[in-house]
Symmetry: C2
Subunit: 272 residues, 2 copies
């Protein structure tokens, strides 16, 4: 579908899901900075007849603290509207009666409070950054290899991300390391997992074809949403690269300069 055409097909939508980092704001020192026009774009979506949810793979802070940061930046957003991997993982662990060994950032630990973590029967890894020491990774490995059937959950599968001081290895790299060490396949919780997207759709009570995902990550946001039957639009902010528009396997339903422009087109075609 040509980029110009997507808003026409978006007339029958009932809900929109927004990625956060790189769409709403750019991370950096302190809270980072809002991307111009994004605060207003969220306000306009909230005033429209569309449902709105936010979906992130952020795992360095608990959802409460993460949302508080967005509110400080000026966004009209609440915790119940935000879907992130840690709460999704907690649901899975509770449902299956699992006791996790956690290898996650300290800021994420509060999400897992209340879960039995004695005598662990699975491992959960998130973007642990400096906590990915040899000793900590080896500890997680020993738990896994000691299980009859090693069970590994990974909060996302990113390769790397950019911070002000340069590129940093993301959780997916350590997921691959443990997969190889134990000859297992990790269960990814977060984008682009269909289960994760489906939980957002369930919360809105709508079908995939009634939803649009807007993100800066062609594979995890756009491709992941499309795999679930949703529309996926990419914005040219955040981790967008020009080469994304010539990607061999994922083709966005539309590509717009930023969230503000995407929301303009969407609401205009809905007569709002």
């Amino acid at each position: 579908m040509a980029a110009a055409g997507w808003p026409v097909c978006a007339q029958s939508l009932k809900g929109v899901i927004l990625d956060m980092c790189g769409v709403l704001y750019d991370s950096g020192d302190g809270d980072g900075v809002a991307i111009p026009g994004s605060i207003e774009a969220v306000q306009r979506l909230k005033r429209s007849d569309l449902q709105l949810r936010f979906c992130t793979n952020e795992t360095q802070a608990s959802r409460d603290r993460f949302v508080a940061k967005l509110q400080r930046l000026g966004f009209d957003i609440s915790v119940k509207e935000v879907f992130s991997p840690a709460p999704a993982a907690v649901s899975v662990l509770k449902e299956r009666g699992l006791r996790p060994h956690l290898l996650v950032y300290d800021g994420l630990l509060p999400e897992f409070e209340g879960l039995d973590q004695t005598n662990p029967n699975c491992v959960v890894i998130g973007d642990a950054a400096e906590k990915f020491s040899y000793e900590n990774l080896n500890d997680a490995f020993r738990v896994l290899i000691g299980l009859d059937k090693p069970l590994l959950f990974s909060l996302g599968q990113g390769r790397y991300y950019k911070e002000t001081d340069g590129l940093k290895l993301d959780v997916g790299v350590y997921m691959k390391a443990l997969e190889y060490a134990c000859d297992v396949k990790a269960q990814v919780i977060g984008k682009p997992s269909p289960t994760f997207f489906q939980s957002v759709l369930n919360d809105m009570g709508i079908q995939p074809h009634e939803a649009l995902m807007i993100g800066d990550d062609l594979v995890n946001d756009v491709g992941g949403a499309q795999s679930c039957g949703m529309m996926g639009v990419q914005v040219r902010t955040g981790k967008y690269r020009a080469s994304d528009e010539r990607h061999s396997s994922v083709r966005a339903d539309g590509t717009e300069d930023n969230l503000s422009r995407a929301v303009d087109l969407l609401l205009h075609h809905r007569g709002q």
Copy 2:
């Protein structure tokens, strides 16, 4: 071929290659301990008409220090008879005019002295153990991702090994991590790389079908040697596991209780 039959086929051999850890000795506190009968087995091979070389993936110490350890344990062995990944890597780097960024154990650094390591255009990783910190892995990653064509060499591809205090992650795990981060395939130096085995054969001046590899690692020793056209016999010491004898893809030409027994059979069938 039935296990009992291999020594018959070994009558035309001209050379033997021995794996070291798990065949000659078991590692542990201090120098470790010689496996009963192995010291004498090496002596008998040296007195025979067969050529003898040693082939290890050990990368925590320089070859000089490693061989000195074996000598202290009582083995008749010299540096020039031992093939290990680091000297092989140095040859490749020199040949191709490469300047490595090293992520290896401190004890291995002397092997790389004399190589230009400024403005690196490749990364070499070995079993760095505690040096595999997030920061060090991230530094190696940044070098790789900054190259036009990331070039990664891995000294072996082991998953894990056993020390007195438990299992420890090996270099292969971090190789997989960097492969995923940079979307590259590492070049493995050491067993089971055919180039590595071929360098040992070249040193003896013999053809693959004239050589026998004896090791405790079914995949890297036996399978690796067989892939090069050599015979491969596994010993039931070191990391041998009973399940190896039912392995889906690698089948040893013979399986013997230990090196002493394998050498008995080999020399007996050669009338020595």
